[in-house]
């Protein structure tokens, strides 16, 4: 029982992080039909920026929470700016081109950012300062749950709910959904589609940067190739939920976290990823457009 509850919490924590990063994939995909393979690297860039600020300020006597908030705000700002720049340089010129050209441009951007991080921060593992947050541990039904885990789970839920409200219950959110369906017709409504795309490239990377910072705060380490690992998992989460679908990305992220935990815990740790992937493929065979994805019936 304790083990099971523990695995659920393990899964939810990383699942929340995957979901936050997956939202960036799914939003960009929704509006541009582009798999932004550089997204994971942007998120980890957020972690590195946060890390630098925290390391610089650690021991300055300021309260940890305030520093952490500052680090979050600055990291989010920089990453969102990088996201917009990326869109402008690497994707905007390819809007009307074959979609695979943009995919390869995104892969190039991923290599560029990853190696850029290596050049700036070096190839070593970087460690986040400790003691910024309480190290409280609660024991629930035989499972140990830390303050950071609870923070990540709660913050993910709040952020996702906020995003959901923004996209589904505000005027600009409706405009984003309209642009995702049909850009030209959205223009005929007076929607500035470029502004929608820029918004998506601000919101997605910003949420991703929070995800990246959570990775840093939770594991207290960051290294330059991490973006690829988290990016891939988050992308898979987005696909699992049905890419382009925002609640789908949330569901996909959480499920992927849980799959991973249960596969490692109950089946075989040596085949952990294989089991996760097999499960993913199995789900796609039953639901070829993911769990919440639209069934695209082709108009004949």
């Amino acid at each position: 029982m304790g083990t099971f509850v523990q695995q659920v919490f393990n899964g939810l924590t990383v699942g929340g992080i995957y979901a936050l990063i997956a939202l960036g994939y799914t939003m960009v995909y929704g509006v541009m039909r582009l798999i932004n393979f550089a997204h994971g690297d942007l998120c980890i860039l957020g972690a590195f920026i946060g890390l630098t600020l925290l390391s610089g300020a650690a021991g300055s006597g300021h309260p940890g929470v305030a520093l952490l908030l500052l680090a979050f705000v600055l990291a989010i700002a920089v990453v969102a700016a990088a996201g917009v720049l990326l869109e402008f340089v690497a994707y905007r010129p390819l809007r009307r081109a074959d979609r695979l050209a943009a995919v390869v441009s995104a892969l190039g951007a991923s290599v560029l950012i990853e190696n850029g991080i290596m050049i700036v921060w070096g190839p070593n593992v970087h460690v986040f300062p400790s003691g910024l947050l309480p190290e409280t541990v609660w024991h629930v039904a035989g499972a140990a749950i830390t303050f950071v885990q609870v923070l990540i789970i709660l913050a993910s839920v709040v952020l996702m709910a906020a995003l959901y409200v923004f996209v589904h219950h505000t005027k600009f959110g409706t405009a984003i959904r309209a642009a995702a369906i049909d850009q030209d017709t959205a223009r005929l409504m007076g929607i500035n589609v470029n502004r929608v795309i820029v918004t998506v490239f601000v919101v997605g990377p910003a949420l991703g940067a929070i995800g990246g910072l959570f990775v840093g705060v939770y594991y207290r380490e960051a290294y330059f190739t991490m973006g690829w690992v988290y990016g891939l998992y988050a992308f898979i989460a987005a696909i699992l939920g049905g890419i382009g679908n925002i609640p789908g990305a949330m569901l996909g992220g959480v499920l992927l976290g849980l799959f991973n935990a249960f596969a490692a815990g109950y089946i075989s740790s040596s085949w952990q990823d294989a089991i996760t992937f097999a499960l993913l493929i199995g789900i796609l065979l039953v639901r070829p457009t993911g769990l919440l994805g639209e069934r695209v019936a082709e108009k004949v």
Binding site: T3, V14, N115, N124
Partner: protein, 379 residues
């Protein structure tokens, strides 16, 4: 051997014959084959920097045999295909010896190429397959898994008397090899392995595996992988309230281990040859200080130092034999009784395996400092 090489050799011969002695002697070329980009970039860059540092120091003292030492680096990205290309490039550049690569896989792909061209190779690779082909040019500079495993099994079962031993590894060639040997040797001394589990290196999320291990109530968790994961495993063990002692293999020995594990680091045990900063050898302390002075950071891991030992041994062989003839150098190294390395005193057996390294168990304290736990220091 390529035509170009033959042409080069002929040209060199002609050069000597026409009395090129009066001119500046050509430099002695030492190759570095390492993963300078990619997942292992920190280790690869560490090796490159260490070798360069040693070469610079030696050159400041006038070089070797009156010739400067020149380092040629090649990025093998940690992959077999690039490693094979690197090996051919370094051979074609007429290097005397090559330091690297960091990963056993890349070292393996390059090994036959160096062997055929008679170029010495000193790598930290510990895969048994590196020894199986019996190449005379191979000189492993890290202690072999087998020796570490014997020490580990003895330490876990006979010294600490652990009753329930859990073994954890990643999927890398090195770590699985070590874990397999430790498991075998623990069983050989009648120890009880309750679980052998795997993590995905770099995936950071180890709590699912650890939760599962916790349910088996081990009194020790032995991890054969790398420090970046080891530190996290230690931290996540504490977070999960696991009481088991953490014992890490040699790849856990890194300054970052304690930083990553944070407050959980205290009480962790790491098994390795004595680390430079804990060694009484002045050479080791001096090297680490010089490295830090030049590059602004400590070496990324102990393998930087084992590879540095490879470089030092080859320089010593050149100096002692007054030659760069590979046959002479090989003979010298194979017959060396004891080499004063930065990572301990050792030698090479006929297969090029590093022998005679004393292993120790370190304990990490809350500040991330290491102290030797076993065997108790003599003084």
């Amino acid at each position: 051997m390529s035509r170009k090489f033959l042409l080069g050799a002929a040209a060199a011969a002609a050069f000597v014959a026409t009395g090129g002695v009066a001119m500046a002697a050509p430099p002695i070329l030492i190759g570095v084959q390492a993963p300078i980009t990619g997942t292992y970039a920190d280790e690869g860059q560490g090796i490159q920097k260490a070798v360069q540092l040693l070469a610079d120091e030696q050159n400041a003292k006038g070089g070797l045999l009156g010739r400067k030492i020149e380092v040629k680096a090649c990025d093998d990205e940690g992959t077999a295909s690039q490693a094979a290309i690197c090996a051919r490039q370094l051979v074609d550049a007429h290097v005397v010896a090559v330091i690297g690569s960091y990963t056993s896989g890349a070292a393996l792909a390059a090994e036959p190429i160096y062997a055929r061209a008679n170029v010495l190779q000193s790598s930290d690779g510990t895969s048994n397959q590196l020894l199986e082909r019996g190449y005379q040019t191979w000189f492993g500079n890290a202690p072999p898994n087998s020796a570490e495993a014997v020490f580990t099994a003895n330490y876990l079962v006979n010294v600490r008397h652990f009753k329930r031993i859990a073994v954890l590894t990643d999927h890398s060639s090195f770590a699985t090899g070590l874990a397999d040997e430790v498991e075998k040797d623990v069983k050989a001394v009648h120890g009880n392995v309750v679980d052998k589990a795997f993590i995905n290196a770099g995936s950071q999320n180890f709590t699912p595996v650890l939760t599962q291990i916790k349910s088996l109530n081990p009194d020790v968790l032995y991890f054969s992988g790398y420090y970046s994961d080891g530190g996290l495993i230690r931290a996540q063990m504490q977070q999960l309230g696991m009481k088991a002692v953490f014992v890490g293999g040699d790849a856990n020995q890194n300054v970052s281990f304690g930083k990553i594990a944070g407050s959980a680091a205290a009480g962790s045990v790491i098994l390795n040859v004595p680390a430079p900063q804990d060694l009484p050898y002045p050479a080791a302390k001096q090297f680490v200080a010089a490295y830090k002075a030049k590059y602004g950071a400590l070496p990324p891991s102990v393998y930087t130092l084992t590879n540095a030992d490879g470089m030092r041994a080859i320089m010593q062989a050149i100096a002692e034999t007054k030659s760069t003839d590979p046959k002479k150098l090989e003979g010298y190294l194979h017959h060396l009784k004891s080499f004063q390395g930065l990572t301990g005193t050792f030698a090479w057996n006929a297969r090029g395996e590093r022998t005679g390294s004393p292993f120790v168990a370190f304990e990490v304290d809350a500040q991330g400092n290491y102290s030797i736990l076993y065997p108790k220091p003599a003084h």
